[in-house]
Subunit: 346 residues, 2 copies
Amino acid sequence: MRKIFLSAALLALCAPLCAQEPARKRSAPEIVKAAPAADWSTIAPDDLLVMTLSPDAAGQPRHVILQLLPPPFSQGWIGNMRKLAAAHWWDGGAIYRVQDNWVAQFGDPDEDTPKAKPLPAGLATVPESEYVSDIDLYVAREKVRSPAVWQKFYAKQAWQAKVKRYGSLERIPLKDLGELTDSDDRGDGYARETGFYEGWPIASNSEGFWPTHCYATVGVGRNNSPDTGTGAELYAVIGTPPRQLDRNIAVVGRVIEGIEHLSSLPRGPAPMGMYNDKSKNTPILSIRLASTLPPADQPRFQYLATDSASFKDYVEARVNRRDSFYIYAAGSADICNIPVPIRRAP
Amino acid sequence: MRKIFLSAALLALCAPLCAQEPARKRSAPEIVKAAPAADWSTIAPDDLLVMTLSPDAAGQPRHVILQLLPPPFSQGWIGNMRKLAAAHWWDGGAIYRVQDNWVAQFGDPDEDTPKAKPLPAGLATVPESEYVSDIDLYVAREKVRSPAVWQKFYAKQAWQAKVKRYGSLERIPLKDLGELTDSDDRGDGYARETGFYEGWPIASNSEGFWPTHCYATVGVGRNNSPDTGTGAELYAVIGTPPRQLDRNIAVVGRVIEGIEHLSSLPRGPAPMGMYNDKSKNTPILSIRLASTLPPADQPRFQYLATDSASFKDYVEARVNRRDSFYIYAAGSADICNIPVPIRRAP
């Protein structure tokens, strides 16, 4: 069967032929597979939400795992989400909107109607200024408050010289990660620079840093400015990365398992992908913070640490594809085309 | 209900307040809606394939409309596709692979097995050199062969000075289309420049021009180089634009209606999104060139001409969002985030 991607069968041919060649660089999947345990970081169960949908038409269970962003990003909304999960507020909610090449949205299908479900007390109202973060200010604050946290940021960096050169933690441009071609300089029109921070794709300009909208990114539905939403209504991206939403809406996390349970849902026929008929909604049985589940039921995930040598190699290999399928290597990759490897803990 | 996109309700407030302001620029949807009939180009029925899938679980018909690329792009494969449609070769085929955030692939599910369906005689074997085209050479050739065709290219250009300035038809960079910010210079890492040609997104470098992989792009499945595929096995992109495939595989067209019948299919559980169980394949009842259908059954589509003033305004508005939802305008848009407007002929 013809395939777009084939396994690197040709590589086997190289062994006898390439003895005099310099060591072959590995492909991105090979790098991820070979990454040592030390290069994988555990995702804390307090940063995972487990969404259970009603079983599918064949009676199969459907679980969707969401990972929440670390500080300093979007913590006001994320705090609300932890409260909503603790209150079991989403239980009985639904996925009520699926728009092709855009988003699947879920929460209370009766929101903004007289039948709307009351929100728990104590949710924060978060200002728009929180869409963009100043990591330097955050680090400086933490440095004063907690030398250990500060040390965590700086001490584990492999590229202190680069941090110094670029004047800011994690402001290191992609082109400095590997053997990129000059075209990488033009890799992102939505930001001055893009990079990775604690396992997440971020973008920056002179005003600060913000998390980017990529496939499977989860954000907070809202009405028009200055409303920023509470975190009760959420969407997951199921198409072209809508980078124009960056800094315009709160990114709070990403789906790390089960995105297909959202992306393969029937599209809603009404404007914006709403279902005309509420019986077409997909019921949410529950959303729980993983840390509140019995230990045996807690999903355990790891991400490839974005300050590890393996990740550096992975980025370089995504930029300069050398899988046997490729004729041309693009010499560049936009931030959404470098998904951070995530796996179930072995 | 909270929405990611709301209608431009705030604009109504502007009328009394903004009397002294310069004329408000329109949003992209407003520009498309107001585009005069002359700015819409008809898609020839010979450039449309109508794919009919088996009805869905509710018995509803499923049609997917594919538009084929114009010369000089990929015409060898496209010629094969017209022959395959004329031979009714795809009838009884299937969608046999759906991989999340990647592609839906269709053709003969028994391909590369002893049960493979024989291909019709006379299909072309197309070389890899056809992945990239030289439009200037094409125009020069046409100029000799057909002054009328040549005139069509140059006479209808609104920007002859720009054509001259950039030395090549349609090599006009995006930043010269509107009031883009300087960040646009860094809008694409996969090519020297991107732009539009006869209604299609294309990219270029010093070697030539090629069609880009965006959401809903249709391409030709193949095995490893130097095989380029025949056009019998096709895929449609259903996720993040896989721009790394540009120049590595033949782009032949795009889905212009019914992509949801591909993107919402269950993902295949086997490697690369294959279905383990052939009963899970989605049967193809038929694929027909629209020009071979009875006139009453021929779908009639138009695209917003990419050399029109309306399209120029549309690009500018996609780059500098001014819908009431937005706080920040990105000041840039990558080529896949500027979908060419397509509509049923009114």
